[in-house]
Symmetry: C2
Subunit: 319 residues, 2 copies
């Protein structure tokens, strides 16, 4: 029996090898470009070979790995937290911005500009250790649901991108998130949702301070922004956090432009990929004119544009 099982396994091996690593991607230019790039990168005999330590792949998060409509998930978390803090202590909302946040009046906060938004971020998400904050985000994500789909936010990650992350890792790539969103926020779910550990998440960071609290050393979230990992900040964040120029970059909006420009300006082989939100039925359709983030792809830059409606058979995981 053991010999028979071994023989069957040997027979089955070629079948496994031929399994489609991107089953949620329709045959087409985008899928072919990805498969060709990855196969070449891992093949020492190929012109497109990339030595393993240089196989660095970076992904934007909002709109590239999960949905970002109608507002960023992180914003929903912050407003939700502001409302809960205000409910627990009515004296909490001491300013118009905090009062608007406590009432769930997003437009009211935004009318106060960046300063008002930062006021809410500071009041609702600082003064606790980073470890406590990450645990609170994870708790919130365990039950918070999207207002339109009714899905958990973590169910609104893109199945085709999960397959792409696996494909890259199976071929020796190290995968990273480079997000304009909060680094601590994304670290709370990136390992579970994407298989990307905290040290591979680079994002916007608030000030952080070492403090001794009741004799116990802690690293605390403090008011003020230490680093904005968006736009021209993304290449800087990559240099600081990784120290290698990525050979594979995926994004979806203007905030990803400099990262794509810089990474794909390196010596070949390089691949840039843009997720284009064209699917109003299964997700959302929006573009450069949208407020939240738009595609500003120059197809002449040679980046591969993914048409969600055309290229993906599935958007969200079936689980």
């Amino acid at each position: 029996m053991l010999r028979l099982a071994a023989a069957l396994l040997l027979l089955a091996a070629p079948l496994f090898a031929q399994t489609d690593p991107l089953p949620s991607w329709r045959e087409g230019a985008a899928k072919s470009a990805i498969l060709d790039f990855v196969a070449a990168a891992a093949d020492p005999a190929s012109q497109g070979f990339v030595p393993e330590p240089e196989r660095v792949a970076v992904f934007d998060n909002d709109g590239t790995l999960w949905a970002e409509q109608p507002i960023y998930v992180q914003a929903t978390f912050i407003f939700d937290r502001a409302a809960r803090l205000a409910a627990a202590d009515p004296a909490w909302a001491t300013t118009p911005a905090l009062q608007a946040a406590a009432a769930g009046d997003v437009a009211g906060v935004l009318s106060g500009g960046t300063e008002a938004l930062l006021e809410v971020v500071n009041a609702a998400t600082t003064g606790m250790s980073v470890e406590t904050f990450v645990a609170e985000v994870a708790d919130w994500l365990a039950t918070a649901r999207h207002p339109d789909t009714g899905l958990l936010y973590t169910q609104m990650v893109y199945e085709p991108m999960l397959e792409l992350l696996d494909l890259l890792r199976d071929n020796g790539f190290e995968t990273y998130i480079v997000t304009g969103g909060g680094q601590d926020f994304v670290r709370a779910f990136a390992e579970t949702s994407y298989g990307i550990p905290p040290q591979n998440v680079i994002g916007t960071v608030l000030e952080t301070r070492f403090e001794i609290i009741d004799g116990v050393p802690e690293v605390m979230r403090a008011p003020g922004v230490a680093f904005i990992d968006d736009g021209a900040g993304k290449p800087v964040g990559i240099v600081r956090g990784i120290g290698r120029r990525p050979v594979f970059v995926a994004g979806n909006s203007d905030g990803d432009k400099e990262m794509l420009d810089w990474a794909t300006a390196g010596p070949d082989p390089r691949m840039g990929l843009l997720v284009h939100h064209t699917d109003a039925d299964r997700e959302w359709a929006y573009d450069r004119e949208s407020a939240i983030g738009g595609l500003d792809a120059a197809p002449d830059a040679g980046w591969v544009v993914v048409d969600m409606a055309e290229d993906w058979t599935t958007v969200y995981p079936d689980r």
Copy 2:
């Protein structure tokens, strides 16, 4: 023959398993503590078991992984570069601090305090891309030699610590450097010398800027310090760069105290290790009274103190 070879391999396996993973460490309390900690961390049946993703080990660099006497290697590099820039262009040294640096007058620069030192750092090491800077450091390290030993600086890494890094990695630990020195400087040799890739090096960083230069996007080193990864900055650097509290921490000086305090304050198992420079014959002997960095170990904190003269059979690698 094939069967015989296989049988011999099976016989040999227990012998390999008993090979001492720390041959440059003398039997004693420090070696035992390390071996016990690592074996327990990797053993699911042990009370000291640590799940693999949490097996994070961080090391200070100067004085912990390589020699730091008579001055930090990075300082020698900066002064050397200042002298070369001034030799190539006598107009380069426009200020007293730069003139002192160009003349190799370290004491003269230091008499101007932090401001003068920063002036030299800015003039000698900014205005180029981070990639170019890292390549220049690697070029310099390929030939620069220590004034007393005549060794390449990269030959003055500590063999017992290289063995310790290997032991940790062989047991599923991810190893990091957390240095008060320049992150870009240490990244230039950490992969070759320690097996630690750039993304696992956290250090002090100057300002970095995304710029388009002659149409080419670059990330440039710019004047000004963005983050000081020393003292209370080390736990902050770890939280930003790793996002997990290390379970194993090694350092040698006051600048490592907060990192040791914070890491070992987490729930057990934790291990803190201090390299004590007691070996005036083979390395240097210095302590808390020295200017460059001293041990301020509170043995009651439970950290293991390594006595270089007593605990190490070898200091530098024999290669």
